[in-house]
Amino acid sequence: MIRFLHATKTYPNGASGLKDVSFQIPKGEFVFLTGHSGAGKSSILSLIYAEQRPTEGEVRVSGYQISKLGPNDIPRLRRQLGVVFQDFRLLEYHTVEENVAFALEVTGARKETIPNRVMRVLTQVGLASKARAYPKELSGGEQQRVAIARALVNDPHILVADEPTGNLDERATRGVFQLLREINAGGTVVVMATHNMELVRDTGYRTIELKGGRVVYDSGVDQAAGAES
């Protein structure tokens, strides 16, 4: 589903985001991205949802080559993805339910089904009572859960979650993680960047660790092979 091949990302201001990163994530996998602050986790995710393009190397996501996406390919790719952004990125002039519904509408879902699906997913993240509120009327953790609900609502093929529990308490963290496991059980690839090492250690899912923009550990492959491929 996802394949990085010697991918390098250097930002316009000269800062280095990623250096020669290679890995492969097959269908159905659940992968943690870990590493210190500034290691490159968000950079990897932004290449997957094509906000950034690699400066060198190749990134392939569900058949699309990111560096060669045409203007019409971008929406097509993104509709197969669900993304939880580290900074949430909610539409500030739209209510919670409109924010979630929007992600569903752009996929061309049948209008009649939308309100039900939106309420179901809001209930799953515990925000049914806040459906009519605007993002700035929510607490930090509530905003984060809206972002999670939006990413889940269209049953994506790939779910990309950037630090999705950073503003959540332990109970809410467990709840959200349970949701991710369920959607993964349904066949969705989940890539989750996190600092919550407890979660990483407890679950035993594949972990890719970054340091200074390089992959320094990948529990999914023999380390030597990972460096070579």
Partner: protein, 291 residues
Amino acid sequence: MKHRTPLREALMTFRRTPLLSGLSVASIGFSLFTIGLFGLVAINFQKALQDLAERVEVVAFVLRGTPTETISTASQDITAFPEVLDVSYVTEEQALGRARRELVEFREAYRDLAVNPLPASFEIRLKPEARDAESAQRVAERVRGFPFVEDVRYGRDWVERLDKLRNMAAVVGLVIGLAFAAVAIVIIGVTIRITVLQRAKEISIMRLVGATNRYIRGPFLLEGAIKGISGGLLAIAMCWATFTIFRTSTTAAGDALVFFGGLQMLLFLVFGTVIGLGGSVLSVGRQLRAV
């Protein structure tokens, strides 16, 4: 939850950001008001010129003693000229009476005359489209051909000056009008661009969630069109207010002033709408490419 349609989405914008929307409409409205003011001045000036042009007249003095039948036949002949609107015959007595009434300075002089020194004349008014120096001269030449016509006058100088004034007014009107229109278009474009910049973040989020450009553009275009048409209405209202205030404050010439006709106002609205729409297309397009 209501379904999202471009129209509902566009209307919601006005409720979500009332201040910004109101300011944009005001800005568009005042820009169009500028054009409207200029337009009012222009059409009133044009009307004044037309009023002046109505006085373009060819006068043919008739030899003393021309028989009445000749006069009436000639009158019919002249009326049949393509340039001529109507012809009236002024007898010698009528001419004298008029001179006594109108030329106060000569009243004394004419009071005690034994013989009327004034000739009879045809006064020939021209059709609106023929009120220029060339046509007047053509008519004058033809009338001069009648054997009983002693002399023909049509104030050549005056007609020629009117012609020049008209051409001049047309050029000035066109140049300044275009300049004002350009100013309005730029200001409206700037306004719409600023409101789109204001929402650059929203647009980029929509793109990141998988919306196509067409899908994002829809509500913006409608919003632009609505702003344009509202601005147009505002401008017409302001023009009307200015016009009314101006007319009542200048009692003398005020009554002669004219306002836009229905078609002109419609044109105005269409212009506003097209600019609102066009501005949105351009500036949203730029934003979509940028993200």
